[in-house]
Subunit: 168 residues, 2 copies
DNA sequence: ATAAACTTTCAGAAATAATTGAAAGTTTAA
DNA sequence: TTAAACTTTCAATTATTTCTGAAAGTTTAT
């Protein structure tokens, strides 16, 4: 396969993955494009290569900046902004884990903890079933949260080293 | 807080989490409702409690059956189908992990592996950057895949026991 | 100052996804 | 049979998300 087709397939695949994750498809595609670019690209480059409008390109670049998945790069003697992606996969994984924890795990944990104590007779099976499920979930999600924290602090080799060793 | 409000909040929170995951909001809400119900519910119950149409209720119940997150329960002397959720949180986690692995990790891994070898001069920086990113990603996603496999085989206490011990 | 170069915003348009509800299909009891 | 009870389907509608592009905003060089 040639580079041009391979790039297209990669960008396409990354975009699909993104949307299955609840991440904007174009944002994922912009990310993919920058991931495989040896040098920084400007808004125009993105617009051309992905066939998207200026507004769309701009918005998704900002969002990727918010996630800290990409950085601005200033080219001396050029007024345009250029963007370059974080290339270290473990760093990318940590950024995504951090962001998803913040958006998904933490708010749910907060709600669950707020629902732990409810009024009513604990002998009522409705009340009992509710309390039990909420407690079990809160306990489980809490452990997930802690596990992600650990991953965020850990070093890649140690993390996968330990995890994958368990498999054997 | 009283049970009725607590239920509503729980269903709402679970629905939001679902849509952040790329899972149909109503499917997540039906799941939430069944999770906290001490007994099996029928389509009518779901329609009433969530204010959704018959078609919608039916489709999402089927989808939850596909995921194996809920089961049919037959009530003797009643022709209706009743549904009851898997209540064990670890079992639920495994089902979701299995399904997301199948839908997200596996297809991407397949594409990545197909892109590992491309034509062109390895000294060309475009080619080099592409190959490097694809190889790194493929390696990383492969490890994720293996890690999920391990989790699927493991027992909850052992899994979190080991993971959380690492944190200390 | 001001004009060119560049970035951001945002109302409307387009695309995508979810939902409805009635009709068609299926099963069961008598 | 057949008719009632129940489930499934799907075309049309509604809701939600994403995208466009032109206008407004900002920065920089002269």
């Amino acid at each position: 396969m040639n580079l041009t087709d391979a790039k297209k397939q990669f960008i396409q695949a990354w975009g699909t993955l993104g949307s299955e994750w609840g991440i904007n498809r174009t944002m994922a595609q912009v990310h993919a494009l920058l991931l495989i670019s040896p040098n920084a690209l400007c808004t125009e480059d993105i617009m051309e290569q992905l066939n998207v409008s200026r507004g769309n390109a701009n918005m998704n670049l900002r969002e990727l900046m918010n996630w800290t998945l990409i950085n601005k790069e200033l080219v001396p003697g050029d007024r345009k902004e250029y963007f370059i992606a974080v290339k270290d996969i473990w760093e990318i994984a940590r950024i995504i884990a951090r962001e998803r924890k913040r958006r998904e795990i933490e708010p749910v944990l907060k709600v669950l903890n707020g629902l732990k104590v409810i009024e009513g007779d604990q002998k009522d099976k409705e009340v009992k079933a509710f309390t039990e499920t909420v407690n079990n979930l809160s306990n489980f999600v809490g452990k997930m949260d802690k596990s992600v924290d650990m991953m965020l602090k850990a070093d890649e080799n140690w993390f996968f080293g330990t995890i994958l060793k368990m498999i054997k």
